[in-house]
């Protein structure tokens, strides 16, 4: 499939959680010794919580932290290889909740302990995912500490954002041809905490495809692009009249993984984004 990368971003985006049932797995106090992670954001959280040594299998997309790349690969998260997972003899599998996955029911049917986290669509839900992973790997305390640290940094970002002389409008393009985010997305929330305003925050959806003329009509001051390069925006018919394009205010070089993975690293992404926004509004 051509859009594997797109699919990757999509699945990790904050989205409407199809199921919102908290997992009811009982976990030993000492944590698990053989963990398999089926999603990059969960791998990152587990490493951050110090459970990296217990992880025995990850997806081919789990590239951060670098130690994760040394772990056994069990396929990508769209087509994980169930035989590989089982062969690693895990005592815990962490996965993002995904109703149509045939893997998770199969693993559970074989008596393997699977913890499914929700797909976060707000910062609050990201905190929840971190706590869930923390509980699952037996490091609830460190998870709580990580969340508190994040909340502190987010508060600082928010205070700084409020002090912006003005709050510019932003169009966030997460995928071609014109997929963007709505209010029910942590990216939109992050943008507004940083001191800007997502031009599509009136739409109560995590992600939506908009027509390009609507973008022209809403005339954003700044464009944040995850996929298309700066020059591509100049080539789009009619887009030269958009303020962001006219004034060269297109941010296309941020690490999309920081902003889209939906875990503790979002704060790093937010701080970088805020610095860029601040440079624009204070000039």
């Amino acid at each position: 499939m051509k859009k594997l990368r797109a699919a990757f971003a999509i699945l990790l985006l904050s989205a409407l959680a199809i199921l919102r049932v908290a997992p009811t797995n009982i976990v030993s106090e000492h944590g698990h010794s053989r963990i398999v992670s089926l999603a990059p954001n969960l791998t990152e959280i587990a490493f951050e919580l110090g459970a990296g040594k217990q992880i025995v299998g990850v997806t081919t997309y789990c590239t951060y932290p670098p130690e994760a790349q040394k772990k056994e690969k069990i396929g990508d998260f769209i087509n994980p290889n169930i035989e590989k997972i089982v062969a690693l003899n895990p005592d815990l599998v962490v996965a993002e909740r995904w109703t149509s996955s045939k893997i998770v029911p199969h693993l559970r049917g074989m008596g393997i302990n699977v913890v499914e986290t929700l797909s976060p669509k707000s910062l609050a839900e990201i905190y929840q995912v971190i706590r869930e992973v923390g509980t699952a790997v037996g490091r609830a305390d460190r998870a709580e500490a990580l969340v508190r640290k994040m909340q502190e940094r987010v508060r600082a970002i928010a205070d700084r954002g409020k002090r912006f002389p003005r709050h510019p409008t932003v169009y966030v393009e997460i995928d071609l041809p014109s997929w963007t985010v709505g209010r029910a997305s942590f990216i939109s929330e992050a943008v507004s905490l940083c001191g800007a305003r997502n031009i599509f925050d009136d739409v109560e959806r995590p992600a939506l495809q908009v027509s390009r003329e609507t973008v022209i009509e809403r005339d954003p001051e700044i464009i944040i692009s995850f996929d298309a390069s700066v020059s591509e925006f100049h080539k789009r018919g009619g887009w030269e009249q958009i303020r962001a394009v006219r004034n060269e205010k297109i941010i296309a070089d941020l690490d999309r993984n920081l902003l889209s993975h939906g875990n503790h690293r979002l704060v790093d992404g937010m701080e970088k984004l805020q610095a860029r926004l601040e440079a624009i509004v204070t000039k």
Partner: protein, 316 residues
């Protein structure tokens, strides 16, 4: 007569299928495989491959005979698009239970058969052309519904997409059993109508003059064959081209007699799918390729070849 020779080819095909199933148990990305992997993962998979492969190929043989078209595909009546719509609606209603997806897709696929038949019925008769036309219209409609859904919903659409990407990774034995029973029962019905199918290939008027109650027989055959497809799609997603290629190839080997062709197609379909799946889980390990994509990849060039061949006959 030549029937004894044909019976032997059935025997050979049966043995070959059995052998490939046995081999497939030992083929996979994990080597050597533990007994858990062989019995709990590969066995249900091989079993499902046999069921789905034989169901699709058997249904293909029936469709090709009844529609008097050696290039007919069992998805021709829109069964798979309807199954997709069922999964999509389950997603929309945020029905979260996994088996709900299965029952929604099975239900919609079965429902679509009734819809196609209702549309195709004119003055108590269902001419072949109107059946095909009704099938095309129904699949266009359901496809449009699915595309609309894709374009509006972002993440949820993956529920549909990945549910429908053909794969045999189904671990729920109850669902396998339900689909399996439907496939076996409908297969038996179709097989018992082999003579009627033979007669139908000679044209509906001729079939009538050979003593066949054409309308009743067509209804039974289309419903039974579509139900097989529905059962296969809802448990394993879209696995293309097996229903098209396998019966066609088998016709070259064992001839057109449906009493031999239908079981031969079933064996051929099972053989093909079980081996394709073994390939799909090994070839790009640790990645697993959806087997539906793999079968279509092998099948498409063959389809082109078939088309060119028939065009040559047409020129004659």
């Amino acid at each position: 007569m030549s029937t004894s020779l044909r019976r032997y080819s059935l025997l050979w095909l049966g043995l070959l299928t059995l052998a490939s199933a046995a081999v497939a148990l030992f083929v996979g990305p994990v080597r050597p495989a533990t007994s858990t992997i062989i019995w709990e993962i590969r066995l249900p998979r091989v079993l499902l491959g046999v069921l789905v492969g034989s169901g699709l190929a058997g249904a293909g043989a029936v469709f090709q005979g009844a529609l008097r078209n050696p290039l007919a595909d069992p998805f021709i009546l829109g069964t798979s698009s309807a199954a997709a719509t069922g999964v999509m609606i389950a997603g929309l209603l945020t029905i979260s239970h996994y088996s709900a997806l299965y029952f929604m897709s099975l239900g919609f696929a079965l429902l679509s058969i009734a819809v196609v038949y209702r549309i195709a019925r004119i003055d108590g008769k269902t001419p072949i052309q109107t059946i095909v036309l009704a099938g095309v219209i129904v699949s266009l409609f359901f496809n449009a519904a699915v595309y609309l859904f894709f374009s509006i919903f972002y993440r949820e659409s993956f529920t549909v997409l990945f549910y429908l990407l053909g794969t045999l990774t189904e671990g729920n034995r109850t669902l396998i059993a339900i689909s399996g029973s439907i496939i076996c029962a409908c297969f038996g019905i179709c097989w018992s109508f082999s003579r009627e199918l033979d007669a139908l290939t000679q044209g509906e008027e001729t079939a009538f003059h050979l003593g066949i109650g054409v309308e009743t027989v067509k209804k039974i055959l289309f419903v039974a064959a579509s139900a097989m497809v529905a059962a296969a799609v809802s448990v394993a997603g879209m696995i293309g081209f097996i229903g098209l290629i396998v019966p066609h190839m088998m016709r070259m080997i064992v001839g057109a007699d449906h009493r031999v062709l239908i079981p031969a197609s079933a064996f051929g379909g099972a053989l093909f799918l079980v081996l394709a799946d073994a390939l799909a889980r090994t070839i790009a390990a640790p990645l697993e390729i959806p087997v539906g994509a793999l079968t279509a990849l092998i099948g498409s060039p063959y389809f082109v070849y078939l088309l060119r061949r028939t065009q040559k006959i047409g020129e004659f």
